[in-house]
Assembly symmetry: C2
Homo-oligomer: 355 residues x 2
Amino acid sequence: MTETPSGTPTTVSLPDGPALQQLMGHLNGSPGPRVVPGRSIPAPTSVSAAMQQAIAMPYRNNEWLLNPPDAAGWNAAIANLAQQSSPQIEKIVEKLDVRVESTTIAGVGVFIVTPPQIPAANANRLLVNTHGGGYLFNPGRASLLEPAVIAAACGITVIEVDYRMPPDHPFPAASDDAMAVWKAALQMAPPANIGLCGGSAGGGLALSTVLRAKNEGVALPAAVAVQTPWCDLAAVGDSLKVHEWVDNILVTYDAIAGRGASLYAGDEDISNPLLSPLRGEVSGFPPTMLISGTRDLLLSQVVLMHRKLRKAGVDADLHLVEGASHFTYFIDPFAPESQDIFAEMALFWDQHLGS
Amino acid sequence: MTETPSGTPTTVSLPDGPALQQLMGHLNGSPGPRVVPGRSIPAPTSVSAAMQQAIAMPYRNNEWLLNPPDAAGWNAAIANLAQQSSPQIEKIVEKLDVRVESTTIAGVGVFIVTPPQIPAANANRLLVNTHGGGYLFNPGRASLLEPAVIAAACGITVIEVDYRMPPDHPFPAASDDAMAVWKAALQMAPPANIGLCGGSAGGGLALSTVLRAKNEGVALPAAVAVQTPWCDLAAVGDSLKVHEWVDNILVTYDAIAGRGASLYAGDEDISNPLLSPLRGEVSGFPPTMLISGTRDLLLSQVVLMHRKLRKAGVDADLHLVEGASHFTYFIDPFAPESQDIFAEMALFWDQHLGS
């Protein structure tokens, strides 16, 4: 099945209009898999011009297709990608006017990101964020996109955990680092005033840090907000197929996401809830905000996590961004839809954190 | 473009694995529409066996492809479909053991659907539901699926509005009927104890009834729950394309949904918020629960409505069912995922209705 196709999916001759409908009705006329024709899907008109542009962005072929043969290759690729993304991230950090302090907490590298203005109600509040990047990418200052956007939008100081990553440091290094910083943060502000957040892989890490704190009898965050969290390292969720090739960030689970899962898990079974928090016991979780997008490859994982939290009686809210693939609202954090979802997050902290 | 295709979407030769990834990366290598290959998407393993079966169900070709040439043809098709669905609906009504009383309120045909047990807290609570069916289908007892499921799951009496529909009665007949019953319901229980709900077209009708009550100075419901509401009659929302051919109930907006929109609107502009509540002014809305599914053709409309309500400061909650197309949780209301979402609705009423 690897012969060169005579055409491309866009040039295959299909009938259109009523004839296509009849054909599809026939192909889907008995129980079984859903047969879907090749399509060209435009960026929707139901979003702002800025969000349309983010949705129309090409696949990031320098990232999702990466497949170096060995650890040295991975390290080079990770460093290269960090360097490529650096100018854009530094520009956003500057535009948002946040102050960035690089330091060490409990032996773990962190960035303390302070917004230009802190409302009085937020003076004694603190957020801890674990960045995304498939458990592989965004070391060092490449991790600053999320905390800069969140600090600026929410008016709260954010500690960004520059946790250790594969290939050199598979699980449990990242979990250990997040946990160490979490415990230290509990000495920096009243627990009732501290929120935990994280995006993508960092969203999974934030959720698993709550599971771990529960298990170890450590104080939980007062609230948790996760941005398109990667909740299960296995290929779990309908959207992995429905949004395959539609999501322009992750594209397909069989590429960088699957490789990140393997490299992060190392010798550990991916069914361990600290790797796949969707399999954890979530009763007693604090109020939790879950964000995803209607094109997110991980939408189903976010939805399944939301249902699981709700069934456990947790005050959990789901918010979706129209047309957004995985993380699109961080790709253009200034699009009106992105600003809306970060304003929602600011409100969430205000409602659930003590002051 | 209507020549017979030499193959079908499933037999087109595409490379797979790395070669397919390279091809797709190339085809999506510059800004523009998303190019997605033809696919066969299995029912997910992330849901119960019952929900898997509902997701794997064939298209309902006797419904979404309907296109009679005239009013008489529509009336015959609508009656025929009601007759076809009757045995299944009556079976569910019987299984749920609800009592159904057919009567008239304010000149409008209604069914009063009473659950077998009413918890003490619900004795003075009341729900008004406007059923789905594209503003075309489910007249008379064919409307009983929703109120039976909701009454049984929530333990609250439901008044189902058997509103007039096209082709004989286009807008504003349905809106007038819903409004007349809503006003009458306000005399049957304290407004603080009454919730308004509706599914699909009836979800749009429920939302537009709130808009109309606001405009006319009539008391609003204490809470609103809408099941995959049709919030805009125009082709609004990214999921209309992304979930085209994936949703096995509506399939595509260019078939029965679009025809229902035209027939319902009649001579009215579809941008009227009473037809397309997504265009309405929603400040002051009561707490609102919005339900959809990850394969719902209308997912984007539900998400856009949720964002609009949130931006207006409304206490609005979004809940999605994994793998569900438009209305799948009513197709098999006994699947665990359906029971979960109706339990969520029961909790919602309990939290927001007075007793």
